[in-house]
Every structure is written in structure tokens, then in C-alpha cells.
């Protein structure tokens, strides 16, 4: 049995790396991945605590966090695609300067 404190330390490291990534990287996608690292760190520590406390609540929250992460990624991807499309057409389409 691995002590829970190991998991806490590991997840703290993971969380710290994620925060660092958000702060030091400029690329929106990498920032997004770093956020995923943070969420994974939180999930990990939740599962570890759930085992230690013999309470299912932690795992339930992990499930919801995964749901939320998926939803956020879906919206984020849609936004990225929209941005790219708008900019792309703006580059290609010289006439788009006509906007009202």
C-alpha cells in the first residue's frame, strides 16, 4: 500500500507544473493542456483521499471534473476553430475589408 501522502506530493508536483505551464507559456493550446494537468492533479488527490477516507464522494467529484473538462475542451476547440476560420478567411479573402 502506498501511503496517501505520496499521492498528495505527486499531485502537488503535477499541479505546480500545470500552474507553471499556464504562467510561462504563451500558446493557448499549451496553456489549455497545462490546465488539464492541474485538473488531473486534483483528480488524483481526490481518488487518493477517497480511498483513505473510504468515502465515495471523492470519486464522484472526479467523475464530474472529467465531465466538466470534456465540456470545456469541446467549447474551447469550437472557439479555436472559429478563430482560425475567421482569421484564415480574413487573410484569404481580401474583400472582407468591406465589413459594415
Amino acid at each position: 500500500m502506498v501511503p496517501t501522502s505520496y499521492y498528495i506530493m505527486l499531485s502537488a508536483a503535477l499541479f505546480a507544473i500545470g500552474v507553471l505551464g499556464v504562467l510561462i507559456r504563451r500558446n493557448a493550446l499549451v496553456v489549455f493542456m497545462s490546465v488539464e494537468l492541474m485538473l488531473n492533479a486534483a483528480n488524483l488527490v481526490l481518488v487518493a483521499f477517497a480511498r483513505e477516507r473510504l468515502s465515495i464522494d471523492g470519486q464522484v467529484l472526479v467523475f464530474f471534473v472529467i465531465t466538466v473538462a470534456a465540456a470545456e475542451v469541446a467549447v474551447g476547440l469550437a472557439l479555436l476553430v472559429a478563430i482560425f476560420r475567421t482569421k484564415h478567411t480574413a487573410d484569404v479573402d481580401e474583400v472582407s475589408t468591406l465589413r459594415g
Binding site: M38, L46, E52, D57, E72
Partner: protein, 487 residues
């Protein structure tokens, strides 16, 4: 095979929430199948009707209070009052959008149900007595707002604002979840009651205390992002500027109000943690009041100015939360109501001046407004006075209540900062008024007033005046709404 049990659930307690979310879901389908393109306003009217029904359905609940879903959802007068404020905010945000969206060629029927979903998330936040529920409420609200921010399709600014908001919102969510995780690890509970019960059994192991404090700090950081407290406010001006103005209006009152309301409930519930929590809140409040208002000083873009001013107002509201136990909660509710109405009104005027393709957000566009549209200028002046806290407006009464409550609660130095920053704020608000009344127009701006906008500005203006002139009935109502919120 054991049969599944359905928990004893009192659905009455969440009638408004159910109506809002259910009607939003139905409206999505109605919009697609029955509302023809180009008449999407019908969807908007239906959405307002749904919000109104939800508000009316809340009335019989006034004398009801209790909790359901294993105590994770509570209904009390506090949450009910907030529910009504949120419903008003949602309805007014839809009213200003009715003509804005087609005028800017970004009309899509989904806008209206999405606003309703956001309102649902806000109501859930006001009612949740459990960190998991709170997290889901915040995320429901946030994800809807990311979508709405990036809603104006061909406008890159809007999409980029949406992306920026999403990335920072997800960052905040990361802090929030990790905080919940650590609190869960320390106390073994996620419900506010469970955590409070654990905290009541002092002393606890130092290791667990460390975990709890770390968790509480992280949760506070998550809140600060959502409320846009200094130093977690950097995203606000950009996101407000980029998003469609009705969405910015909704965001400025919605996210802030709901997150602050949840923060108040958490603060009240975790009484034992307050010795740790309050000093941090005090520093945040001071920084927010000072930097928010100073930031607004330099803005010549009115949308950004309102963004900074909303940051500053969050600082004032935070004072109410800090003294929530003694009369602060009442001042908080009153301030939220006053701020919601006033800010939505100010954004309404902004929307009236905004035309397709040219954003009339520069303060110069307000020059000489009085000569062209006297009533509009008077309304804007009223909102500016109210935001600045000049009597006899709602904003003045709100500030008065907050400051007296904070002073009585022993936060004298914060009140001093609040008064001083209000004086600074008066400068930039009144600058707009001076422009409108004293100066000649710099360039031609034709305000477009339509029915939805007129109604919204009228409602907001009249309410701002009434709250300022005759606050007593509302104050009584607010006072009664807090009887049950003992903790």
C-alpha cells in the same frame, strides 16, 4: 437484484431552477423547429416569459425553507431573493439583446436559452450548500458564458475574448477543484455542513489543518478569478470589450453576483475558518477597491471603464461579505440588487449608442448626447450617479448600507479606503455626465432606441430611483429574507 431506491426529494424547493432549466431545454427545441429564421425575437420573448414564470413560481416558496438532495441544496429566503435578482438580470439582458443581435447580424435563437441556462447555473450556486454542487453551478454558468462571449461569429475580437475567458476560467476551475480536493482530504466532507461540523471539533491534527488551510486558500483563489478580484482581474477588461455588449452586461452582474453570493454562504457556513479567511479577504477587498477604481480612471473606452468599475464594485460588495454575520448580508443583498439594475441600465445606454461596425464606446461619443437625446442622457446620468454613489440613487443607499455595516463590524480602515476610492470613482463617472451635458458633439452618433431597449432602460432607471428614494420596503424585504440565514 435489489431495486433502485429513489431518494426522498422535495422538488418544490427547486421550482424556479427546474422551470428555468427545463424551459431553456424546451426552448432550444422550439427555437429550432418552430421559430422561423429572422424571427428569433419570438424565442427571446418566450425566454423572458419563462424567467417571469420562474419568478412567480418562487413567490409561494417565501415561507418555505429546507434542504433536499441529501442536504446539498437548500432553499431559504436568501437564496430566493438572489434567485429573483438573477431572474431580473437574465430578463433584462435578454431584453437588450432582442434588437442588438439582429442589428449586428449575430442573431441566433440559441442566445436566449443559453442565457437561461446561465441563470440556472447562478440559481444553483445561490442554493448549493455543498462544494460539489457549487462547482457544477459555477461551471454551468461559466461554460455558458464562454459560449456567449465567443458568440459573435465573424468578429475575431469576440472569439478571442471567448478563448481568453475560457482558458482563464479553466485555470480558475483547476484551483477550485484542487481546493475542494484538499478540503475533502482534510475534513472528509464536501458539504458545507459537514465541513463546519468537522471544524467545530477542534483541535484537529496539524497535518489536516495544513491541508484545510491550503484547500481554503485555493478555493478562495478560484472565487477571486470568478469575481475578478485584484490581482486576479486581468481578464475582465479584455473579455468585456470583446464580448457582445449584452453578454458583457449580463456577465458584469451575473457572474459577479452569483460568485459573491456563493462566497457569502461559504464564509458564513465556515465560521471556524473565518480567523484565517477574513484577513485575506480584507487585503483582497482593499486591493480591489483601489486598483479597480484607479484602472477605470485612465479609460476612454466606456466599455472598459465599466469593466474596471465592476471590479471596484466587487471590492465594496466584499466588505458586506466580511461582516455578513452582523447586518452585512442585508447590505450585501441590497447592494447586489442596486448594482445589478444600475449596471444593466448603463450597459443598455451603451448598447443604444452602439451601431453595427462602429463601436460607439469612446467617451467622446457621449459628448452632447443631451442635445440629441435628452431622455437617454438623463437616464445615463442617473446610472452614472448611482454607480458613483451620489444620492438620491440606489447606488448611494447601497454604499451607505455597506459602509455602515462594515464600520459597525470593525472594518474602519476598509471603510476609509472605500470612501476614498468612491471619491476617485466619482471623478470618472461624472466625467461622462459632464461630456453629455456640457460639451458639443464630436462626431455623429445616432442612438437607436428600440422597444426592448427602451423598456430595459426605463425599468432600470425607475428602479434605480425608487431604490434610492424609497429604500424602506426593499430593506424590510431584504431584512426578512435573512431571518433564516443564521448559518
Amino acid at each position: 437484484m435489489e431495486s433502485l431506491q429513489i431518494p426522498p426529494v422535495d422538488l418544490r424547493l427547486l421550482t424556479p431552477l427546474l422551470i428555468v432549466v427545463g424551459w431553456a431545454g424546451a426552448l432550444l427545441l422550439i427555437d429550432v423547429f418552430f421559430v422561423p429564421d429572422g424571427r428569433k425575437k419570438i424565442t427571446g420573448y418566450l425566454a423572458i416569459a419563462g424567467l417571469a414564470v420562474a419568478g412567480l413560481a418562487g413567490i409561494p416558496l417565501w415561507n418555505l425553507s429546507g434542504s433536499t438532495f441529501s442536504g446539498m441544496l437548500v432553499l431559504d429566503r436568501y437564496s430566493l431573493a438572489l434567485t429573483w435578482i438573477f431572474l431580473i438580470a437574465g430578463a433584462l439582458s435578454i431584453a437588450v439583446a432582442l434588437d442588438y443581435l439582429p442589428r449586428h447580424a449575430i442573431e441566433q435563437g440559441e442566445y436566449y436559452p443559453l442565457i437561461m441556462f446561465a441563470v440556472g447555473g447562478m440559481i444553483l450556486m445561490a442554493q448549493s450548500a455543498d462544494l460539489i454542487t457549487l462547482f457544477l453551478g459555477i461551471e454551468l454558468l461559466s461554460i455558458t458564458l464562454y459560449i456567449l462571449t465567443g458568440f459573435a461569429y465573424p468578429r475575431v475580437a469576440s472569439e478571442e475574448a471567448g478563448m481568453k475567458y475560457l482558458v482563464l476560467g479553466a485555470f480558475a476551475a483547476g484551483f477550485f477543484v484542487y481546493g475542494i480536493a484538499l478540503i475533502f482530504g482534510a475534513t472528509g466532507a464536501t458539504s458545507l455542513a459537514g465541513i463546519a461540523a468537522y471544524l467545530g471539533r477542534q483541535p484537529f491534527a496539524p497535518q489536516e489543518e495544513t491541508l484545510f488551510l491550503a484547500g481554503a486558500s485555493l478555493v478562495l483563489i478560484g472565487f477571486s478569478f470568478k469575481i475578478a478580484l485584484v490581482p486576479f482581474h486581468m481578464w475582465t477588461p479584455d473579455v468585456y470589450e470583446g464580448s457582445p455588449t449584452p453578454v458583457a452586461a449580463f456577465m458584469s452582474v451575473g457572474t459577479k453576483g452569483a460568485a459573491l453570493a456563493a462566497l457569502l454562504r461559504v464564509t458564513l457556513a465556515l465560521e471556524e475558518a473565518q480567523t484565517f479567511w477574513l484577513p485575506i479577504l480584507a487585503v483582497l477587498a482593499a486591493a480591489t477597491m483601489i486598483l479597480g477604481n484607479l484602472g477605470a480612471l485612465g479609460q476612454s473606452n466606456l466599455k472598459r471603464m465599466l469593466a474596471y468599475s465592476s471590479i471596484g464594485h466587487a471590492g465594496y460588495i466584499l466588505l458586506g461579505i466580511m461582516v455578513a454575520a452582523e447586518r452585512g448580508a442585508e447590505a450585501f443583498l441590497f447592494y447586489i440588487l442596486a448594482y445589478t439594475l444600475t449596471n444593466l441600465g448603463a450597459f443598455g445606454v451603451l448598447i443604444a449608442l452602439e451601431q453595427r461596425g462602429e463601436a460607439a464606446w469612446s467617451i467622446d461619443d457621449f459628448a452632447g448626447l443631451y442635445q440629441r437625446r435628452p431622455l437617454l442622457a438623463v437616464a445615463m446620468a442617473l446610472f452614472m450617479f448611482s454607480l458613483a454613489g451620489v444620492p438620491p440613487t440606489a447606488g448611494f443607499m447601497g454604499k451607505f448600507f455597506i459602509f455602515t455595516a462594515a464600520y459597525a463590524g470593525g472594518l474602519g480602515w476598509l471603510v476609509l479606503i472605500g470612501v476614498l476610492t468612491s471619491a476617485i470613482a466619482a471623478y470618472y463617472y461624472l466625467r461622462v455626465v459632464v461630456k453629455m451635458f456640457m460639451q458639443e458633439p464630436v462626431r455623429e452618433v445616432r442612438p437607436e432606441l428600440t422597444r426592448g431597449l427602451n423598456t430595459e432602460i426605463l425599468i432600470a432607471g425607475v428602479a434605480t430611483l425608487i431604490l434610492g428614494l424609497l429604500p424602506t420596503p426593499i430593506v424590510l424585504l431584504v431584512e426578512r429574507s435573512l431571518v433564516a440565514l443564521g448559518g
